[in-house]
Subunit: 106 residues, 2 copies
């Protein structure tokens, strides 16, 4: 994601979460959801990191692409399991990326 | 950040970075910058996590607050040191938060 140049504006789904102690398929599901997101029309990129707080950001061409991804059946099931088992709390933010710049060392 | 209810829209600065192997004051500076950001007019919150990729997001009331923070002298110096020493690469995205929802387990 860091080196690609994207047409502005585009959109992001910022997912900030605190996990429960329950693993039970979490890692496999996280991998599967990233793989599935990458196959969606309008997907632009994905970034994530976790310490105590986890932050995952997926980037999308427009709000329609985000809506389609939200309505994806397998993704909906994963979110249901997430609320039941894997997440203590989370926050989802839909954001319009209006401006960006990058830096890369020689 | 996860439990507060903020007036929409508000803004985010998404900072995605890969570190160099150089420490040399990095941790102290990271702590200082978060502390300094919290004192700025229009600051709403801060979230961060790092694995190989680091993601730090600061939230702001409006673009003017972001501009003032960017022009803060101590912050400008920190960014200069960041490019010289601490970051292999980074990307800054300015985003307008248009919609949000949260979940918290009972």
């Amino acid at each position: 994601m860091n080196s690609k140049k994207l047409n502005l504006p585009y959109y992001a789904v910022i997912f900030s979460s605190v996990r429960t102690k329950i693993d039970d398929g979490y890692s496999e599901m996280a991998v599967r959801m990233e793989e599935l997101a990458r196959q969606q029309e309008g997907f632009l990129g994905f970034e994530s990191a976790r310490e105590e707080l986890g932050i995952s950001i997926s980037y999308w061409r427009d709000l329609e692409a985000i809506k389609n991804w939200k309505n994806n059946l397998e993704h909906s099931l994963a979110r249901k399991l997430g609320r039941e088992k894997w997440y203590q709390s989370f926050k989802v933010r839909i954001a319009k990326i209006e401006y960006e710049y990058g830096f890369e060392k020689e």
